[in-house]
């Protein structure tokens, strides 16, 4: 059974409008140890928090795209049945390839929403990285495509740098939001903010403007 058909059965059970969220997660070698453990724990809490909100659990659809050596992606699943994958840090940082995969996942998903007659909110793409992209040539092109999609109002991009991340390069992935640097490894605060934000968005209607809670997990970056 293709993903489309499974999705259409899912829409019959849950015709709520959807808010697709792509989590682009850096699992390169430098994330090994404390960072990846913190990220894993924060993700679990994030999903638990979303599940506790009945409406958000049915409206928010999650997918993870991890990049560390290779790019690995799951399928979009509503938060109520999302299982956090185990993260393992290894390899370099093919952020460009990951962004391209994320964009493709979003294109495919939107097509399925349209086919199923399900309304959707503007998708979110959260980019979390602690380094700089290593797929030279590819990442510049990916960043350009992402910015174009952002300009077409096709996606909301949230670039987030961890520790020594190159915020200069990260800033090229969004022309609407400057990258924020995470305080230490405060992934939990970041994802608490994200689940609150998504709960608020879920209470709104597609196309409506919604204020989000203040960001408390970043530090002011003077660099």
């Amino acid at each position: 059974m293709s993903d489309n058909q499974l999705a259409l059965v899912e829409f019959a059970e849950n015709p709520q409008p959807r808010c697709p969220v792509v989590l682009l997660l850096d699992v390169s070698g430098s994330m090994a140890g404390e960072p990846i453990r913190e990220l894993q724990g924060a993700l679990e809490e994030f999903v638990t928090a979303l599940k506790a909100d009945e409406l958000a659990a049915l409206r928010v659809e999650l997918v993870t795209v991890t990049f560390g050596g290779a790019v690995q992606a799951g399928d979009f699943v509503t938060a109520d049945s999302f299982a956090v994958p185990g993260l393992h840090a290894t390899g370099d940082t093919p952020l460009g390839a990951a962004v391209m995969r994320g964009l493709q996942l979003l294109r495919d998903r939107k097509a399925i929403y349209k086919q199923g007659g399900v309304d959707y909110f503007r998708p979110w793409m959260i980019i979390i990285t602690d380094g700089e992209p290593t797929d030279t040539g590819a990442w510049e092109e990916a960043a350009e495509q992402l910015k174009q999609e952002e300009a077409r109002k096709g996606v909301l991009v949230y670039p987030i740098g961890v520790e020594k991340a190159d915020l200069g390069k990260l800033s090229r992935f969004s022309s609407q939001r400057t990258p924020l640097r995470l305080k230490g490894f405060e992934f939990r605060e970041l994802f608490q903010w994200l689940s609150k934000s998504l709960s608020i968005v879920s209470q709104s209607r597609p196309g409506e403007q919604v204020p989000l809670p203040p960001v408390g997990w970043s530090e002011i970056d003077t660099a």
């Binding site: 059974m1 058909q5 499974l6 259409l8 059965v9 899912e10 829409f11 019959a12 059970e13 849950n14 015709p15 709520q16 009945e54 409406l55 049915l58 109520d80 049945s81 349209k114 086919q115 199923g116 007659g117 399900v118 309304d119 209607r205 597609p206 196309g207």
Partner: protein, 520 residues
């Protein structure tokens, strides 16, 4: 917290906060478990005046205080001091053990929270909602902000309208008419002529409520779909739901078929003809002429008639008798009015006597099965799980050794397995197959596999194919048949499984998704 209310300004002790909205918080009231208090964050004297008028002038048809509160009408205005003092909120009746209509509307939540709510319960809910709105309309009040969160429903389908302090209210003060507007509304429940209007200045009418009522009735009876949810066939991005309402882009009837189509597997034909007609009147004729929209009384009559004509198929689905087959499982109407056994304990077994053979789980990867029944053993995450494919009605699988189901578990990590069945279903088979996943601890065939609404598997539904090619009750063409098996999530039973049966193939692959969690 102590507040004061009534002629003598008696002290009233408030309990904990139950809920918190944009305007205020809802508190319990000590020693009065039938009452709640709303305390405003920013009390407005206009709200006080509106509430005082409402309390003095309830709708003539409002049921007595002892009956179920059909409308959570305000009872008492509250102040923060025994004398003088500022207005802070009001008391209202409390409806216990109820859920917002939102939870009923979405099938996935409904299956979890109120699994007994079949079509009959949903019709009754819709009818009771029409009664409640009718009570308001037989007065000078207008609900205004009628939506899926402002309607509470109890387990026996009784309805209560809440957030009554936002009702549009007209106070008669001498020769003056003082209008307290309803300043809020959700676009998806807002009538086309009000879309984009500044609601705090608009005079609401019963016809505006009539639109929201029709949307709610539609959502209750049409699997949670909004009447203006559609497949967009026009250029560019689909308009927002409010724009679709404003433009009258109703996908089921009317003149906009080139722009919008109903979502897959959704048709108004499943509604009783009386309801179907009212929907068209509201969303097509009512587009330019709001007076065409059905009144709550008309909905009540049509819903009562539709409920009268509900019948039950052998699987326990309830549907309208004007249909020639059950829309959920496409079963032919051989036993129209046979009620589904509701008591699983000592109740009738699901399968016809002799239809199901006992089979112990074993390591065998395939086995030869008897007529009409296939018992397969899946290995899911180390658990032995039986999946039973039973051709309960309609054409049966041939009674030959060829009726073999081979189980090839794949992706055990994601608890997904693929069953391969050979030979192919007879071309005449419509909905001949039912799949019941069985929990590891319920492999005994004596255990009712489908215990009816409310207990065990709550729904065994076969959806029509993506592009329905159904003629004379037969499924034609190379297409897919969906079987949704859902259950209450109690005690770790399988929550939802999707099974697809491709037609016209040499062999049949049935992916079974079993999110199994062992029973405690």
């Amino acid at each position: 917290m102590i507040v004061y209310g009534g002629q003598e300004r008696q002290p009233i002790t408030l309990g904990g906060e139950l809920a918190r909205g944009g305007q205020g918080a809802i508190h319990t009231v000590a020693a009065r478990d039938d009452t709640l208090a709303k305390i405003y964050f920013k009390p407005d004297p206009l709200d006080r005046d509106r509430l005082l008028w409402m309390i003095g002038n309830p709708p003539p048809r409002l049921p007595a205080a002892t009956a179920h509160a059909t409308v959570a009408w305000p009872q008492l205005v509250l102040f923060d001091a025994p004398a003088e003092g500022c207005f802070v909120g009001y008391l209202m009746p409390r409806v216990r053990d109820s859920v917002p209509a939102l939870n009923l509307i979405t099938p996935k939540i409904r299956a979890r929270q109120l699994p007994q709510f079949d079509s009959k319960y949903l019709h009754r809910t819709a009818r009771n909602l029409a009664v409640a709105v009718g009570i308001v309309h037989h007065s000078d009040y207008v609900v205004g902000d009628l939506n899926e969160s402002n309607v509470l429903v109890t387990a026996d389908a009784l309805v209560t309208l809440i957030d009554v302090d936002s009702f549009q209210t007209i106070e008669l003060r001498g020769d003056q008419r003082i209008i307290y507007h309803c300043p809020v509304g959700k676009p998806e429940y807002t009538a086309p002529e009000l879309q984009g209007a500044v609601l705090s200045h608009v005079l609401r009418t019963n016809e505006h409520d009539g639109f929201a009522l029709a949307v709610l009735v539609f959502q209750l009876l049409m699997g949670g779909r909004h009447p203006f949810q559609s497949i967009w066939k026009g250029r560019g991005k689909a308009p927002a739901i409010g724009d679709k309402i404003q433009r009258g882009l109703f996908p089921y009837a009317g003149a906009h078929g080139s722009l919008v189509a109903p979502p897959p597997q959704t048709t108004l034909e499943v509604l009783h003809p009386a309801l179907h007609a009212l929907m068209v009147r509201c969303f097509v004729n009512g587009q330019s002429d709001p007076l065409q929209r059905p009144t709550p009384d008309e909905w009540e009559t049509a819903l009562a008639e539709a409920e009268e004509h509900l019948v039950r198929c052998r699987f326990g689905h309830t549907y309208s008798a004007h249909l020639t087959q059950c829309p959920d499982c496409r079963q032919k109407l051989t036993e129209r009015r046979q009620p589904w056994p509701r008591d699983p304990v000592g109740g009738r077994p699901l399968f016809p006597a002799g239809g199901l053979r006992t089979s112990q789980p074993s390591a065998a990867r395939s086995m030869v099965l008897t007529v009409g029944t296939i018992l397969a053993i899946l290995f899911v995450g180390g658990n032995v799980v039986a999946a039973i494919v039973n051709t309960m009605m309609g054409p049966r699988l041939p009674a030959t050794a060829a009726s073999v189901m081979t189980v090839r578990p794949v992706l055990p990590a994601t608890e997904t397995s693929v069953i391969t069945v050979s030979p192919v279903l007879p071309a005449t088979a419509t909905s001949a197959i039912t799949v019941s996943p069985v929990s590891p601890l319920y492999t005994s065939v004596e255990t009712p596999l489908y215990a009816g609404p409310g207990v065990g598997f709550t729904e065994l539904a076969v959806l029509p194919p993506l592009t329905p090619v159904v003629a004379a009750g037969r499924l034609l063409g190379p297409t897919w048949l969906y079987i949704i098996v859902s259950s209450t999530s109690q005690r770790g039973w399988v929550e939802t499984s999707h099974v697809t049966i491709p037609r016209g193939l040499e062999s049949l692959s049935i992916p079974v998704f079993l999110p199994l969690t062992p029973l405690p």
